[in-house]
């Protein structure tokens, strides 16, 4: 706790060093309060003012936003960047492991995501397990260490997964009809349900032993504490509403199954991830206040994605489901704005509805909407500057601020290229010379395991 307080102090100090920024004459897409033609002031890490005319303190950096657009930083509710490992696939319940332990703050995908306007991402465990590992919300503070990139105060989460991925480990290679070999249980959607129910039976019993123990201690009785179970602890947190469930799913049957399981054990599914057939059970999802986080138009890459439609997000929105678009992919993550634009075409969402899918809606799903997701005075200054409308394919992100600190500037990036090229050349020459002398042992390159490996 002390460490946390200290870190907060350090980060606050770092932000305080940033001069206030005033963007003038811009089109400001607040998302929650309409469009403002005027100015926005970023000060002390927060949005200090939005309006026609905004007074700025001395020392403010003034940016002419004529012809430009300002919108809140994009929030990706499903990503695997930074994660040095994705799946603990040896067991079907891997709630004892967690992504927070394997975060690489030097993953170049962070910078690339920033350049595409992403300021916050929900970093998830993979989908090989019916109940997967713990997850974490990160801000894309490129250059900071992993600890400093954590989204302060964001709820922790856990990944669940249904359908083809968790059952794949149990499938036999012997073709249809062949008995599953001694693979990992489960091999069917029926088995996936069973695994989740068994795990929650264990969690309920485990919680009871602790509740009993705590009650005795509270009464001043002498009691022996139960043995800790690191697998069940996160599930108890789910039961107590202290950990958000993000569940990978595709088909309507498995979606409904999980909703029933959650009903039976009295917990909530915070978001259904992918949820490509969500449009078929929008009513059931909406009734439970569960969120949906989907792709704009991916389909047919596997049989459970065969009925995926690009109208999914639009139907879910129209039926009252809190919906977001996510990337699940280091490349797609760089153009979530363009993905949002597709929902205007497919299903006729309004521009604001479309942009909400990548800003305020994922913020609400992650319960961080008090701080981010829209341009409102008092919220974190996580702000994007575009050279045109964010939903146009002809526009691009030119600047990105997180907590009022500028983390990306396109012009600067372009300007620095010759210098970086020269530096690279010098390093390569030096390394080659050392190698000739029989040295070496350094790292020759890093191909992030998270990239190029589809987790969908």
């Amino acid at each position: 706790m002390k460490k946390l307080a200290l870190l907060t102090l350090i980060s606050t100090m770092a932000f305080a060093a940033d001069a206030p920024v005033l963007i003038q004459n811009a089109t400001i897409l607040t998302i929650t309060n309409g469009t403002v033609k005027g100015s926005i002031l970023l000060q002390d890490g927060k949005i200090a003012a939005i309006g026609d005319k905004v007074m700025a303190p001395p020392g403010t950096v003034v940016i002419d936003g004529a012809g430009k657009y300002v919108m809140p930083g994009i929030i990706d509710c499903h990503s695997h960047i930074m994660a040095e490992a994705i799946n603990e696939g040896s067991v079907s319940v891997s709630s004892m492991v967690g992504i927070p332990d394997v975060l690489n703050p030097e993953d170049i995908a962070i910078y690339r995501a920033l350049a595409g306007g992403v300021t916050t991402a929900n970093i998830l465990h993979g989908s090989a397990n019916s109940i997967g590992g713990k997850t974490i919300v990160m801000k894309m503070r490129w250059g900071k260490d992993a600890e400093e990139m954590k989204f302060e105060g964001a709820m922790p989460g856990i990944k669940f997964a249904l359908g083809e991925n968790p059952k794949r480990a149990g499938q036999s290679a012997g073709g249809r009809g062949a008995a599953p070999t001694a693979g990992r249980y489960p091999a069917t959607r029926m088995g996936v349900e069973d695994v989740i129910r068994e795990a929650f039976n264990d969690a309920v019993a485990y919680k009871a032993t602790w509740d009993f123990y705590n009650a005795r201690v509270a009464k001043g009785e002498v009691a022996i504490p139960p043995a800790r179970d690191l697998k069940l602890e996160p599930l108890v947190e789910v039961l107590e509403g202290k950990r958000l469930v993000h569940a990978h799913c595709y088909r309507q049957d498995e979606i409904l199954m999980l909703l029933h399981v959650a009903d039976d054990y009295h917990f909530k599914i915070r978001t259904l991830q992918h949820v490509l057939e969500g449009y078929k059970v929008a009513k059931e999802i909406q009734e439970r206040g569960t969120g949906a986080s989907t792709f704009a138009d991916w389909w047919a890459y596997k049989i459970e994605a065969n009925d995926a439609i690009p109208y999914n997000a639009a139907i879910l929105v129209k039926k009252g489901v809190l919906t977001s678009l996510n990337s699940d992919d280091a490349e797609l993550m760089r153009h979530l704005d363009k993905e949002a634009a597709k929902t205007v075409k497919y299903g006729g969402l309004t521009e604001t509805e479309a942009l909400s899918l990548i800003t305020i809606n994922p913020a609400k799903q992650l319960m961080i909407d008090k701080k981010v997701g829209s341009l409102e005075v008092g919220k974190d200054a996580d702000v994007l500057l575009y050279d045109g409308h964010p939903l146009s394919n002809f526009s691009k992100v030119t600047k990105v601020w997180i907590d009022g600190h500028e983390y990306f500037d396109m012009d600067q990036d372009v300007q620095d290229r010759p210098k970086k090229e020269a530096e690279k050349k010098a390093l390569v020459t030096k390394a080659a010379a050392e190698q000739r002398l029989g040295g070496g042992g350094g790292r020759g390159g890093n191909n992030s395991a998270a990239q190029g490996v589809p987790q969908q």
């Binding site: 170049i108 910078y111 690339r112 350049a115 449009y279 078929k280 929008a282 009513k283 138009d297 991916w298 389909w299 047919a300 890459y301 596997k302 049989i303 065969n306 009925d307 439609i309 690009p310 109208y311 639009a314 139907i315 129209k318 280091a330 490349e331 760089r334 153009h335 363009k338 634009a341 597709k342 205007v344 075409k345 497919y346 299903g347 045109g388 939903l391 146009s392 394919n393 002809f394 526009s395 691009k396 990036d413 290229r417 970086k420 690279k424 190698q435 070496g440 042992g441 350094g442 790292r443 020759g444 390159g445 890093n446 191909n447 990239q451 190029g452 589809p454």
Partner: protein
């Protein structure tokens, strides 16, 4: 028989007017991509072919008139490299017909395996794509690329040019980090200089072997041609080598996959030596070789613009800027959606071009890349790619900019026939939107 048809034809016309592949489209802005745009223009189509484009054209009396007021007309877009029709569900082996066994399969023709009933066809054309180059693939020579219309009752009706080019993956020494590199070879982990050196040795040996095999195969094709031309006694036809004759004669291009600078340079040198015509595809680092590509007049089909940079230290926007760089160098280029699950992404072809516009390509050049250039590169520029007299009426009629995701295609014509814009996805949308 002929006289009977001649006799019947005018009667049919009188009874029901011209066929549904004949019409006049009036009042729209026509972007011919062969000259200036025509405001309030007219396009006259008869029997699938464009017979007139311009302003204030006299309208033949027997043709129905379609009102295009307020709409934009463009040539149908062409995906210059994809696998639409060859894959239905990526992960289901049984639904995939792209990759045959063996390193040399020039005798295989993609069109043979195109499924005219594929759900991907209506889904793709929904965004204004009327023609695609659908590609087989393999270790080296995967087969013949087929240019197909995204409409037709049968493969015969869909085929525009069944043998449009020979697909070749150029041998590579790529270390992991790029697609096609490494290939799961544990020795290829470059995390130490020693391992990297070992990996390089293995890859280099494999590269040398593949180059030797490739050259030997071309030599064999030359010998085969000599024997065939000489009508030697006992000459036995060979389907593989027969398919190579138009290629070694320089009549049919080779579609060479070469991503990195070294492969591109290699491919150009090799093609010179073999005296064959090549098209580079997925040439991510073509921007480093613009002079040589231009000097040799080699067309380039770029992979997706919305792609990650090749190297960890590459510029974040390299793929976004490459089209503009090629344009500036005067290189003829087009776009392909091709990467993993390309059949899923073909409908996003216009947005690949749009992203290039955001990073410096002119809008006109972007449209040309997905229409005229693609047709010219694939050798069908006399049939499709522009709105001009004598060409197939492959037309897209849109309410805005076809490169913008928000625009809606209002009408689509392939060979003059109005194409149904409905598809499975739209049906599911309507069905479940109305679920009580």
């Amino acid at each position: 028989m002929k006289s009977l048809i001649l006799f019947l034809l005018p009667a049919a016309l009188m009874a029901a007017g011209a066929g549904d592949d004949s019409f006049v489209l009036r009042g729209a802005t026509v972007h011919t991509m062969a000259g200036a745009e025509i405001a309030n223009g007219t396009v006259i189509v008869r029997s699938g072919k464009i017979i007139g484009v311009g302003k204030n054209l006299a309208v033949p009396k027997d043709l129905k008139v379609i009102d295009g007021k307020g709409l934009q007309v463009y040539p149908g877009m062409i995906d210059a490299g994809t696998q639409v029709g060859l894959i239905e569900i990526n992960s289901i082996r049984e639904s995939e017909d792209t990759t045959e066994i063996g390193k040399f399969n020039p005798q295989l023709v993609a069109l043979t395996a195109v499924n005219p009933s594929s759900e991907h066809i209506p889904v793709t054309r929904f965004n204004g794509i009327t023609t695609v180059a659908t590609m087989p693939e393999g270790t080296l020579i995967g087969g013949q690329v087929s240019l197909i219309h995204l409409d037709g009752w049968t493969t015969d009706e869909m085929g525009v040019k069944p043998r449009a080019g020979l697909q070749l993956h150029f041998p590579t020494i790529a270390l992991p980090g790029g697609r096609g590199g490494g290939g799961g070879n544990p020795d290829a982990d470059p995390s130490s200089p020693l391992a990297a050196a070992r990996a390089f040795t293995t890859l280099k040996q494999n590269y040398d072997k593949e180059m030797a095999e490739l050259n030997a195969f071309f030599e064999e094709a030359h010998r085969y041609k000599l024997a065939k031309d000489a009508k030697m006694v006992g000459f036995k036809p060979d389907l593989k080598l027969d398919a190579m004759i138009p290629v070694i004669d320089g009549k049919e291009p080779i579609l060479v996959t070469a991503r990195r600078e070294r492969e591109i340079r290699d491919a150009i040198t090799w093609a010179d030596k073999q005296k064959v015509k090549i098209i580079l595809i997925d040439a991510a680092e073509a921007y480093k070789v613009t002079k040589e590509i231009k000097d040799h007049n080699i067309p380039v089909i770029l992979g997706p613009t919305l792609a990650l940079p090749l190297g960890e230290d590459s510029d974040y926007d390299q793929a976004y800027r490459t089209p503009a760089a090629l344009q500036k160098a005067g290189i003829e280029f087009s776009f392909a959606t091709l990467t993993g699950g390309s059949n899923l992404a073909s409908r996003n072809l216009p947005y690949q071009a749009g992203q290039a516009v955001a990073f410096g390509l002119s809008h006109d050049d972007a449209i040309r890349a997905v229409t005229k250039n693609a047709a010219d590169i694939w050798g069908v520029g006399d049939q499709i790619g522009t709105v001009e007299e004598g060409k197939w009426a492959d037309l897209l009629v849109v309410d805005g900019d076809p490169l913008e995701a928000q625009s809606q295609i209002k009408m689509l014509f392939i060979k003059g026939k109005p194409v149904d814009l409905d598809n499975k996805q739209k049906d599911l949308y309507e069905k479940y939107l109305n679920r009580p």
